[in-house]
Symmetry: C2
Subunit: 225 residues, 2 copies
């Protein structure tokens, strides 16, 4: 590739990172092409994993009754969360959609198996969660690939893990870590839902970056003479 192409390719990656949204209300339910779904799952499957353990699995859920059962469970969990909120926050929460389980084209349940990779997973000796982290990395690959395909993804976390395990006959030693609503969308919002609804804004990058050690910000570094 020439330099201009390299630059365009780089910008395309930043663009998809910037345009990606956590979608709830914008799914239009149009069916998903099998080839597109395979590409998106293939991207997830190319994630890095500790010791090459690839501890993830993907359960593709199209069935309307299964989705309705999950959506009803999510509605219960939403009500339970709302009940914990002080009145002002509860009022803010009220109009915020938290899922598009039935409206999306398909559900992708991402699971994690700590058994995958055998007893000696290289790199998981000191940090047991390193396996779990690998599975989460796969989610972000999926999310960005879907965005590049013009699709939307919404991660639903308002559920009890045992409920979802039972619903999809997931073995006891496998953990469901996400229900991802995936599908065709009318559009992606420019501003994230929670910011638009005044739930919570974004913090500036400078607050998240420390130089050399925790708490040292730009301009405060100590340099040797």
């Amino acid at each position: 590739m020439n330099a201009a192409c390299d630059l365009a390719a780089r910008d395309a990656v930043y663009d998809v990172i910037a345009r990606r949204r956590d979608v709830r209300a914008e799914f239009d339910g149009r069916p998903l092409d099998d080839a597109v779904l395979a590409r998106v799952l293939g991207a997830a499957h190319r994630a890095p994993s500790v010791g090459m353990s690839q501890p993830w699995d993907f359960v593709v859920v199209r069935d309307a009754a299964t989705r309705a059962a999950f959506a009803a469970h999510v509605a219960e969990q939403r009500a339970a969360f709302a009940a914990t909120l002080p009145p002002e926050r509860r009022t803010r929460f009220e109009p915020i959609r938290i899922e598009g389980v039935r409206e999306s084209s398909v559900g992708i349940v991402v699971t994690h198996s700590q058994q995958r990779g055998g007893p000696h997973v290289l790199g998981r000796h000191t940090v047991a969660d390193a396996g779990l982290f690998s599975t989460v990395l796969a989610v972000q690959n999926l999310w960005l690939a879907a965005t590049a395909e013009g699709l939307g993804v919404g991660w639903v976390s308002f559920y009890e893990e045992p409920f979802l395990r039972d619903l999809l006959a997931i073995p006891a030693d496998v953990r469901p870590i996400a229900w991802l609503c995936l599908g065709s969308v009318t559009h992606l919002q420019d501003v994230p839902d929670l910011e638009r609804h005044g739930w919570r804004g974004r913090r500036p990058l400078t607050e998240a970056v420390h130089l050399g050690r925790w708490g040292v910000r730009a301009g405060q570094e100590v340099h040797d003479a």
Copy 2:
């Protein structure tokens, strides 16, 4: 954009997902431009997060003495892991590099704070780890942005968390989840290190995909009459 441009942009995203590698041996130590580092950290900071909590922080480590201390700790952990391996696996492990802490341009320690976002984090009511997952999603954004910049990233997990916390003065309620070696590389390998060294190969995507419920593979779906 026209359709050809859209397609090129989509392919650029898949390309960077495919070319991304977990780098150990290929760092050449050339200094990193501040503007590039800011773009890569900015990409991480654009990750989705549960309830817009943005629970991550990034500690940028350039200091040689700090990096040497961390590398020495990692070497100890490597020896401890090697000691747990049966002889055949130990021989396979021997030539595999596990870090480029001193050779990379910079270290980025990614941390997670469960306190960020206050007492009512939307979407973390049922799944406590949803916050931790957000921080991991930020790592994958960083990884892909760095790859798009022509840089390499290597996630080092051979460390005890308390050691790294002490080394960088990270508060007790903040968890370091990754030391990422980031920097200029001579090249990216076509085949992942662990596969080239015969440690472990990749499983096919079809083994990771289940249709409708756990254990149902393509061709085995039950359709209603």
